[in-house]
């Protein structure tokens, strides 16, 4: 069987890749893609803890579903913000959205 460590290492690696994407991408939509990767890494951890812990405790799965809801809300509002900014400022580059600086 697969030991728990494999899942944890995989999810840590996925989280780091997502973090890299969030930090270095210039396009706001691409930043949201990176956030999706990070949320998925979290979900892998939650589900593997459910499987490797006491399976009659459903906390792991319930939290994973809540993360689904959070991811959906985040994407919905985040992309709506991006579209709204694009319509008023004509750009989706995060660096150029600097109205609040002044």
């Amino acid at each position: 069987m697969i030991p728990l460590s494999w899942y944890l290492i995989l999810s840590a690696a996925l989280f780091s890749i997502g973090l890299f994407g969030v930090l270095s991408r210039r396009n706001a939509v691409a930043i949201l893609l990176g956030i999706e990767l990070m949320l998925n890494a979290v979900n892998i951890n939650l589900v593997s803890f459910w499987r490797y812990g006491d399976v009659s405790m459903m906390a792991g799965q319930v939290f994973a579903i809540i993360v689904f809801a959070v991811a959906a809300s985040e994407v919905a509002v985040g992309l709506a913000l991006v579209i709204s900014v694009y319509r008023s400022r004509n750009t989706v580059i995060a660096d150029e959205i600097d109205l609040m600086k002044w």
Partner: protein, 169 residues
């Protein structure tokens, strides 16, 4: 090395490879498609973990809805799809170090933990994960509050997104 382990390793390679493509491809639509590959790989992982419900939900929610929403959003903000100029920030090599440090730190913290290489126990006989999940979600001693809060969260997201995206009307 057992059969399951081989499947796991292949899936893990696919997940990590496509995740790298997501953060590095120049073409945004391709990035979204690579994200779909990653998400599908995660669904396969859930299947290996015997979480059937979550595996199916992963496909339904992520590939069926979230990925579609991403592609719609990319096409709505079309200006950046033909990718002129750099797609990464100037200090991207610094971010590689940060990401590497995060991974190293997580790994170092985890490998000191006693349950790190635990093996999974067998399921009790007659175990019904979906039924258990349903009971846990609505029982007053379980997760009834998160269940209702999730509904409010989705409502807030719907109202907020509709308001933000179409404030001009």
């Amino acid at each position: 090395m057992t059969f399951t382990q081989i499947i796991f390793l292949v899936t893990a390679a696919v997940i990590l490879g496509s995740a790298l493509m997501v953060v590095s491809t120049r073409n945004l639509v391709h990035a979204a498609l690579w994200l779909i590959v990653t998400l599908f790989g995660v669904a396969v992982l859930y299947a290996i973990l015997n979480a059937s419900f979550l595996a199916v939900v992963q496909v339904v929610v992520y590939i069926g809805a979230i990925a579609i929403l991403f592609i719609f959003a990319i096409m709505l903000t079309r200006r950046e799809m033909r990718d002129r100029g750099p797609q990464l920030n100037r200090g991207w090599w610094l971010n590689i170090i940060i990401a590497g440090l995060t991974f190293g730190g997580l790994f170092w913290m985890l490998q000191g933990w006693s349950g790190f290489s635990k093996a999974a126990a067998d399921f009790p006989s007659g175990y019904d994960a979906v039924g258990q999940l349903g009971k846990a979600l609505v029982s007053p001693t379980g997760f009834v509050l998160p269940f209702e809060v999730a509904s409010v969260l989705l409502l807030a997201a719907l109202v907020g997104a509709v308001y933000v995206a179409f404030a001009r009307k």
